[in-house]
């Protein structure tokens, strides 16, 4: 605990150091949240004037919920499925990199980051190419005459990958999986290999050793990864717009449309606030279930 003992007690210096950053966070993060809430409770007294009046109109919230319930449910469903897929895909990979990669560990870790140096949008457009009607993915399936099989198991719909809910979920999984892999890797890497040796010495099977030693110790990584994938995935609408169809619209595109196209600010702000409230409650419940004490380590 060398760091602990050499921590300094500051009178003025720390406040001067955090000053500019805190000012920025207050002015452009906390204050806007307040403005968002105010607009969400306002209404437009005159359709021809740009002014809004704070009238505590809670109906904005109920209107937004009843109008956009399908999109809300869809966003959380897609994000939930994508997050589970990210765990299933990312955990084994993180495990391999942490314990089996040997001297290639740093290289493999770096390679996870490389795709993310290409723009999010351009990667998603590349998926349009791969999954398109004359793209390589369908080409392989057609050559193997497997399209009816993938249709049956729900990987494709009517012989197409694109413009389906599956494609949207696939895109979300792809775009956010690194945020799952990296925290899991960090928590796995911290595990003392001697703990696993001890389990083995005590005649534990590899499966039991994993279940009783490795998995519990890696849960903080899974927790962090879940938040880092689920939250942006639920709010994303680029995947839904580029890989989905009219029936796969997510809440983000509705909020964006209400603000920028329909200029219906109170309802847009209310919808935005509802979305954030659901996420905040979800995070708190999730933290409670997983046990916060374990996670604060």
């Amino acid at each position: 605990m060398a760091g602990e003992s050499s921590l300094r007690k500051g009178r003025k210096a720390p406040y001067a150091l955090i000053g500019p950053g805190m000012l920025w966070l207050i002015l452009f993060f906390l204050v806007p949240m307040w403005t968002l809430l105010r607009i969400a409770l306002s209404e437009k007294p005159n359709a021809f004037l740009p002014d809004y009046e704070l009238t505590w109109r809670w109906a904005n919230f109920s209107d937004a919920i009843s109008r956009f319930q399908p999109e809300l449910i869809r966003s959380f469903t897609y994000a939930g499925v994508a997050t589970i897929l990210c765990i299933l895909i990312g955990y084994p990979l993180a495990y391999f990199v942490a314990f089996k990669a040997g001297r290639f560990r740093a290289l493999l870790l770096g390679l996870i980051m490389v795709p993310f140096f290409t723009s999010f949008l351009i990667r998603t457009i590349a998926w349009q190419t791969i999954l398109g009607q004359d793209g390589p993915a369908l080409g392989v399936l057609k050559a193997l005459s497997l399209v009816s099989v993938t249709d049956a198991i729900g990987l494709t719909s009517n012989g197409a990958f694109l413009n389906t809910p599956q494609a949207v979920i696939g895109g979300l999984t792809y775009n956010f999986v690194a945020f799952m892999i990296l925290p899991i890797y960090v928590s796995l890497e911290k595990i003392d290999p001697r703990l696993m040796e001890a389990a083995r010495d005590l005649y534990s099977t590899p499966a039991a050793a994993f279940r009783k030693v490795v998995l519990p110790l890696s849960l903080p990584g899974v927790f962090a990864g879940t938040l880092l994938t689920f939250i942006p995935a639920a709010g994303d609408y680029i995947n839904a717009e580029l890989l989905g169809n009219v029936k796969t619209g997510m809440i983000g595109s509705q909020i964006s449309k209400l603000f920028l196209k329909e200029s219906n600010y109170p309802e847009a702000a209310a919808l935005s606030f509802i979305f954030m409230a659901i996420i905040t409650v979800g995070v708190l419940v999730y933290a409670k279930i997983l046990g916060t004490e374990e996670l604060s380590a």
């Binding site: 760091g3 921590l7 723009s119 590349a126 964006s256 979305f275």
Partner: protein, 267 residues
């Protein structure tokens, strides 16, 4: 048991290989399609090989302009966020002070807030205050979402540092400023550099927040691509993406090579 273990590892290895292939598939497509001569306005299906796109990477003026805007925004946002965020990380990891818990809490909040909420809340702020949307509002927003990433990255890198090295320097007669320059700054520099690179990448890639507060006059590179994706996807997009990718990989490789070399040569 000893029979099963290599089999288990092999499955794990194959899975890992498969995931890497999946991660890189779109990147390979982007690079290959930068050499495609598209049949129509969409560079999304293969037609024939050409070097023409690479010879004229800036032919599409509106995309080039948008790219320049994005680079300008990223440069300013990255610089300011790295300074502000670095100072915050220095304060929280080096000092004990009242309100530190609150500061750390507020720092994490933007990371757990969906972009769409941050974008819409900034929209309402600028709208309510009659601030005109444009370059300045975009830069303000980019500094905001980079700030937390920078502070937390630097914090993670300097955790467990032995700050008594500073006392040693002071005991040996160094001035505070000289101590910062010759002891503290070199210690935190790798963390700062990593955070700076990260915030540049975050800024240049942002679409959702930017789309809320850019207004009609300012268009960033991702906005340009997204707004036009129903009417055209020119090959220049693939060329620019490939070029940016190779710059990023080179920077990463240089960083890794320097670390290896520093560790190899005894001090």
């Amino acid at each position: 048991m000893s029979d099963k273990r290599p089999f288990r590892s092999r499955i794990l290895g194959l899975w890992t290989l498969g995931v890497y292939l999946w991660l890189f598939a779109p990147i390979v497509v982007v690079v290959i399609f930068s050499f495609n001569s598209p049949a129509g306005k969409f560079n999304t299906s293969w037609n024939k090989f050409t070097l023409d796109n690479w010879a004229h990477p800036f032919r599409k003026a509106d995309y080039t302009e948008a790219l320049i805007t994005s680079l300008q925004v990223a440069a300013v946002a990255c610089l300011v966020a790295t300074i502000f965020g670095g100072l915050m990380a220095l304060a929280t990891s080096r000092y004990e002070f009242r309100g530190k818990g609150l500061v750390n809490f507020i720092l994490v909040l933007p990371l757990t807030t969906p972009e769409i909420v941050m974008g819409s809340s900034l929209f309402t702020l600028f709208f309510a205050r009659d601030v005109s949307f444009g370059f300045t509002t975009v830069v303000i927003a980019h500094i905001l979402f980079c700030l937390s990433f920078v502070a937390l990255t630097v914090q993670a890198r300097v955790r467990g540092f032995d700050w008594s090295l500073e006392d040693a320097a002071m005991d040996l007669g160094s001035t505070p400023w000289r101590t910062f320059r010759t002891v503290t700054f070199p210690l935190i520099l790798p963390g700062i550099a990593a955070a700076g690179l990260l915030s540049f990448a975050l800024s240049i890639d942002d679409y959702i927040i930017t789309s809320f507060i850019a207004g009609d006059q300012t268009t960033t590179f991702p906005m340009r691509i997204f707004n036009a994706n129903k009417t055209e996807i020119p090959a220049q997009v693939h060329v620019i993406a490939t070029a940016l990718l190779f710059i990023a990989i080179s920077l990463m490789a240089i960083g890794a090579w320097r670390t290896v070399r520093r560790n190899a040569t005894p001090a």
